[in-house]
């Protein structure tokens, strides 16, 4: 996963404020939080000398486009389907205390994570602790993944 610093290195670093933010670093953080878009950095789009940087930036940003509203990215090709995240997720446990909490697969529709066809799928994002402006930076699902198949932006 890219860091804000890596994104900053691909920006003009002139602090021109045309994007509405005071510094390029702030813009990089905005990009990572998906509050800003690459096209909002006008010098990067307009000036020819930044062409290579723009290309690289779009490449780096491509995987972030697939992230869900909570910033969750699932790489199905890496997933073992082990269900560690399903059992560890506190929202899943609260939704199905007799199943998810004791290691069984969920039955209802209230859960966030569930394993379907051998890989993990994400539903009900609104229930996730990372949803919305007052989010809690919970990482129960990513910390318990043996193959790094799920990560947060």
């Amino acid at each position: 996963m890219v860091s804000a610093m890596e994104l900053y290195m691909l920006l003009p670093k002139t602090n021109c404020k045309k994007c509405g933010l005071p510094t390029c670093m702030a813009f990089a953080v905005g990009l990572l939080g998906r509050e800003k878009k690459v096209d909002e950095c006008l010098p990067l789009i307009e000036e020819k000398k930044y062409e290579a940087k723009l290309k690289k930036l779009r490449e780096v940003m491509a995987p972030l486009e697939n992230a869900s509203e909570t910033g969750l990215i699932i790489h199905p090709e890496k997933c073992f389907g082990c269900g560690n995240c399903v059992v560890a997720c506190p929202v899943n446990v609260a939704a199905e205390p007799t199943r998810c909490a004791v290691g069984l697969g969920p039955q209802g529709e209230k859960v966030i994570l569930r394993v379907e066809d051998g890989v993990v799928k994400c539903n009900n994002l609104k229930e996730c602790r990372r949803f919305g402006p007052n989010k809690i930076l919970c990482n129960a699902c990513t910390a318990t993944c043996p193959s790094k198949a799920i990560e947060f932006v």
Binding site: C79, F80, G81, C82, G83, N84, V86, V87, A88, V93, R99, A101, V102, G103, L104, G105, P106, Q107, R114, V115, E116, D117, G118, V119, T144, P146, S147
Partner: protein, 412 residues
């Protein structure tokens, strides 16, 4: 609720959607199990003699003919089928006076024998979930071999006495030659061993428990491990093939270690066979012949010894029946070569095309147990699980392993 026979965990909480005899969607199935379910439609075998497709009856009568003419047949495999089929297999072996063997490493058998004799204490996976606070994965990587092991039983679920689970109350230790997927989950207690260094490691743990300074490994970390093991209330060791192969012939040392741990606190051992019903096979063999594996039933009285082990039996047999396993792919090269000697006819009963069915003289297709055929199987901890067939077999003449063995038996 369906059951998965993809590995020895036999997960019972699978939700499968079936449309027109096809499985369209499955929930709660791990990647390995999903592959097992998908295999329902791929690479299925057809009845064959010498690579030419024939009718099922012709293939069965050819198999009967080979077994009848054989003086010293070897029946190997048995681990991927129901207990009913295994019982039919043992009856057949009695009738033929055959040698009967499975294809798992011999060292696993050594440990399993000690566990069944009660020399090494064991427990069920439900006990692990409810009471265990330390799980030691020694030479095993359940994230890959039994993907739902950690999430269903050994690390993440909340149990009766372990309500705070992995967050506060459970610790998972990995001893392995490489940083496996499981080791990444318990990086604080990952002990890397050189290949074959498990005996020294066991001695080092024994030394630490005796209050001595260990000879191998990082002394500080070994003492840390000793303290953790001493503080444990209910520990479970999950030995995998890595440890069993390294401790081949030195199982007494492991027994000594477990006994020492049990002087201090409660420690159980739960081996992790790979195939879905290896435990069932060992149990049945023990009940019916007195030995758990590698038994010759020639002349009535069961004989067990080095000559009856697969490596030796493969060289002396004059016909082979492979069922419920893929011996040529799983066994060491020398044994696999011995099984495919020019004048030894090989009969394979398998639902899927494999190395064994490719090399076999006679191939008899069977129904996949758990999906197309019902029965009972023993989970890795010895808990009996019964299951019904999930769907009807694609072809009406597809028989289960049990029915095929019964037909062969009848003809003989």
């Amino acid at each position: 609720m369906a059951i998965c026979t993809g590995c020895s965990l036999l997960c019972e909480d699978i939700e499968a959607t079936i449309k027109d005899g096809n499985i369209t969607a499955v929930k709660n199935l791990c990647r390995k199990g999903n592959g097992h379910y998908q295999a329902l439609k791929t690479d299925r075998t057809k009845p064959m003699i010498d690579g030419k497709e024939v009718a099922l009856d012709a293939a069965v009568s050819k198999a009967v003919e080979i077994l009848k003419n054989s003086k010293n047949p070897l029946l190997c495999g048995w681990s991927n089928m129901t207990m009913e089929a295994q019982a039919a297999g043992i009856l057949l072996a009695r009738k033929l006076g055959a040698t009967i063997c499975d294809t798992s490493p011999t060292c696993q058998e050594d440990l399993m024998e000690r566990i069944m004799d009660g020399k090494i204490p064991t427990c069920t996976l439900d006990d692990v979930r409810n009471f265990a606070d330390t799980s030691v994965f020694w030479g095993s990587d359940p994230s890959n071999s039994h993907p739902r092991h950690l999430s269903r039983f050994s690390y993440y679920p909340r149990g009766e006495k372990r309500q705070k689970s992995y967050e506060e109350e459970r610790i998972c230790v990995t001893v392995d030659v490489r940083k496996s997927a499981t080791a990444t989950l318990c990086s604080n207690y990952y002990f890397r061993q050189p290949p074959g260094g498990d005996a020294e490691f066991a001695e080092a743990v024994l030394a630490v428990l005796d209050g001595k300074i260990p000879k191998v490994g990082d002394k500080k970390r070994m003492i840390e491990l000793g303290t953790l093991l001493r503080k444990t209330e209910y520990g479970v060791i999950f030995p995998g093939p890595g440890m069993l192969l390294a401790l081949q012939g030195k199982m007494d040392l492991f027994e000594k270690l477990v006994a020492k741990l049990n002087e201090i606190t409660k420690f159980k051992v739960l081996p992790m066979p790979e195939h879905c019903n290896t435990r069932g096979y060992y149990q049945l063999m023990r009940e019916q012949t007195g030995f758990i594996n590698g038994v010759s039933l020639r002349g009535g009285a069961p004989a067990h010894g080095p000559e009856q082990r697969l490596a030796a039996a493969a060289k002396s047999c004059d016909a082979v029946l492979a069922v419920g396993s893929d011996p040529l792919a799983e066994l060491p090269l020398a044994t696999a070569r011995a099984l495919t000697r020019a004048n030894v006819p090989l009969i394979a009963i398998d639902p899927h095309r494999s190395l064994t069915t490719d090399a076999a003289k006679v191939v008899i297709p069977s129904a996949m147990s758990g999906l197309e055929a019902g029965g009972t199987a023993l989970r890795m901890d010895g808990v009996k699980i019964a299951f019904e067939p999930l769907i009807k077999p694609g072809k009406p003449d597809l028989l289960s392993d049990e029915q095929i063995l019964a037909r062969i038996m009848e003809a003989i």
